[in-house]
């Protein structure tokens, strides 16, 4: 994908991946001591690519996004490195970050009702990005906001600009969020469970919309979700997270058709599907997801893993390459389906 036509000169000089996350660690200070939510996560995102991050609650998937965007709450700190377009952005001051956020990288959230300001009209919230970041004059900004609402298939876009978020349906609000995210044609769009709160027919529309917008703008997308079906439809590459670490990553077809980490495989098997065989019980993953405040010393999945050895319970297996573009954090040689 190319996204380089109207990029500033200092950016076009940068080759290599759009985003490089290296050894990211995110910790939260809590009354019960420090809790580690992200433990040494490294990955890259190329221009125009769509990456899926899947995992259950507490896997750290959302905290990776928040760390990248510099949106951690006050008790959270990140170490490691996050390079966006060749520039280190981790620990950047807020004013500096605000020059990037909303223009070059944007985020959309799970619940559009809480992410939109209930006191401001849709138009005001949309044009804010343009008047603030691009010092556009209000009339022009309004026209552009109307256009972008039209692009996300909102009927009567002119009328919607004067409405408040509560006057719109859930699907419509999420479309406004996407419009807002796409308004400045960012190089990177970070989407945290963007369709989880929506009904399935609306979800399908929103996912189509994301793909459609991406085809136009060449934006790279990081999509965080617990829904493997969504990942299967939209993503080029997938990272599976468990207990704050990446346990497996690879191209989407490899992850689904030849999962190599026991957790990935168990997750795929335990998910009821419209096309699965109904004889017998659904395979389950015994036990509970790990408690981040009380992590086991070895592999976080070991207590629930059918293949775990004594070694697995003592030391954390490193993420190692098993084929070009594929890696897993597991001591097992090869998992046969």
């Amino acid at each position: 994908m190319t996204a380089s036509q109207d990029l500033p000169a200092w950016k076009t000089g940068h080759q290599g991946p759009l985003l490089v996350v290296d050894q990211l660690e995110t910790r939260f200070a809590t009354p019960d001591g420090s809790v580690s939510a992200v433990n040494g996560v490294s990955f890259t995102v190329d221009k125009g690519e769509t990456i899926g991050i899947v995992g259950e609650s507490g896997s750290g998937k959302s905290q990776v996004l928040m760390s990248i965007m510099g949106l951690l709450p006050h008790n959270g700190t990140s170490t490691g490195s996050v390079q966006f377009d060749g520039r280190e952005i981790l620990g950047l001051r807020r004013e500096e970050l605000n020059k990037i956020r909303g223009t070059q990288m944007a985020m959309i959230f799970q619940d559009p009702m809480t992410a939109l300001n209930p006191y401001l009209t849709v138009g005001r919230q949309l044009t804010e990005v343009l008047t603030f970041h691009q010092s556009m004059n209000p009339a022009l900004a309004r026209e552009q906001a109307r256009e972008v609402l039209e692009q996300v298939h909102i009927p009567e876009p002119g009328k919607r600009l004067d409405m408040y978020p509560h006057e719109l349906s859930g699907g419509m609000r999420q479309r406004v969020m996407i419009a807002m995210g796409m308004l400045c044609r960012p190089d990177l769009l970070i989407a945290d469970e963007p369709t989880t709160a929506l009904d399935v027919t609306i979800q399908a529309e929103i996912l189509d919309l994301l793909a459609e917008q991406q085809a136009v703008t060449g934006t790279a997308i990081i999509l965080v979700t617990h829904d493997l079906g969504v990942v299967a439809g939209l993503c080029d590459r997938v990272m599976v997270m468990y207990g704050g670490r990446i346990v497996e990553q690879g191209p989407v077809r490899d992850i689904f058709y030849d999962p190599q980490h026991p957790y990935t495989r168990a997750l795929l098997l335990s998910m009821p599907r419209l096309d699965d065989d109904l004889s017998g019980d659904l395979p389950t993953i015994a036990g509970q997801p790990p408690n981040l405040a009380r992590m086991p010393p070895g592999c976080a999945f070991a207590p629930r893993c059918g293949f775990a050895s004594d070694q697995c319970r003592i030391s954390v297996p490193p993420l190692r390459e098993i084929a070009p573009g594929r890696a897993k954090a597991c001591t097992l040689d090869r998992l046969v389906a």
Partner: protein, 336 residues
């Protein structure tokens, strides 16, 4: 599985639940028709899945069947007896045979009660005066049936994970050995790996105790796993009702087809090659539902007739009914 020749446990006839909406002083009184003329039978040991999008009335229907909210019109007949005719006291007594579990398992449990006290509460209500020893025995038994170790009996809900809290809710619901369990989105708040545990548990309990389930969910894959029959609701009305395999393999209503085709499949090749029936627009307001067929504003194959005439539920086969003027040709038209 259902035994059609046995007498139904529950017969619901033309049930309506309308909520008044606050309006201006002199304006015409308006109502939300949350459930609008729903009829079905449920047999002992059978599972009826109820699916639909938010606002379709599925939770309201579940609660109205249990008389947890009053119905506006229609009948709920429990073992041959209309609940509407029963006195409040009789309704209470009958309720020991009908229980419910909820979506948010933690919110459904009193945080200041121990697990033992929570699970024992129905016994306190329906079998007061039971000896402590006997009660404890029943609680331990109920906990073990749902896979909760009985040594956790003195713990509090916050010490449990979401999946375990749902197990506590199930133990509480089943301690009186009811004949019907209404499950209102019981796995929607749980992680994927935990969902499977709860679905398997419900299937096991159902088989062991000949329990009838009304399983309300927006997740069509989960409903397919557990249901013998499936009802698709749209704006408070039945769009389609059929045996499980029939509805998933041979959906007739355009809405059912759209719903099924919108479910993402966890298989990249299949998901990307899939043909989808897409709908336009959002769910209309239930305060002001469309004339004629309630689905017509989003239907891809709407015709003139749909604007004026509400389609009746027509039989496709003995075990399959659908409410669409064009059900005979819908599949062909939509797959073009």
């Amino acid at each position: 599985m259902s035994l059609p020749h046995s007498a139904p446990l529950l017969s619901v006839r033309d049930l309506k639940v309308h909520f008044p909406v606050k309006s201006d002083l002199f304006a015409e009184k308006r109502v939300v028709k949350a459930v609008d003329g729903v009829s079905f039978d449920l047999y002992p040991g059978e599972t009826l899945g109820i699916v639909g999008e938010s606002g379709c009335g599925k939770s309201t229907l579940g609660r109205a069947v249990l008389k947890l909210i009053p119905s506006t019109a229609g009948k709920v007949v429990w073992l041959g007896r209309a609940l509407e005719d029963a006195s409040k006291a009789d309704q209470r007594a009958l309720r020991r045979d009908m229980q419910i579990i909820f979506q948010d398992p933690l919110a459904a449990l009193d945080p200041r009660m121990t697990v033992g006290a929570i699970v024992a509460e129905p016994l306190d209500t329906f079998e007061p005066g039971m000896a402590e020893q006997a009660k404890r025995g029943r609680v331990v038994e109920a906990m073990e049936r749902v896979g909760l170790p009985s040594h956790l009996i003195n713990r509090y809900p916050h010490e449990f994970s979401g999946g375990q809290c749902q197990r506590i809710g199930i133990a509480r619901a089943l301690i009186l050995r009811p004949k019907l369990l209404v499950c209102d989105e019981p796995v929607s708040a749980l992680d994927v790996s935990i969902q499977a545990q709860i679905v398997n548990l419900l299937r096991k309990l159902q088989a062991e105790e000949n329990l009838a389930l009304i399983f309300i969910s927006h997740n069509l894959s989960v409903v397919r796993r557990i249901s013998a029959r499936v009802m698709v609701l749209y704006l408070g009305k039945i769009a389609e009702l059929a045996d499980r395999d029939e509805i998933y393999r041979n959906p007739r209503h355009p809405y059912t087809q759209a719903l099924l085709s919108a479910v993402p499949i966890a298989d990249p090749d299949k998901e990307r090659a899939k043909k989808r029936v897409s709908l336009t627009g959002d769910l209309p307001s239930p305060i002001d539902p469309p004339s004629g067929c309630v689905f017509r504003t989003r239907c891809p194959i709407v015709i003139e007739k749909c604007h004026t005439i509400m389609p009746a539920l027509e039989p496709v086969t003995d075990s399959h009914t659908v409410s669409c003027h064009r059900w005979r040709e819908a599949i062909e038209l939509l797959m073009e």
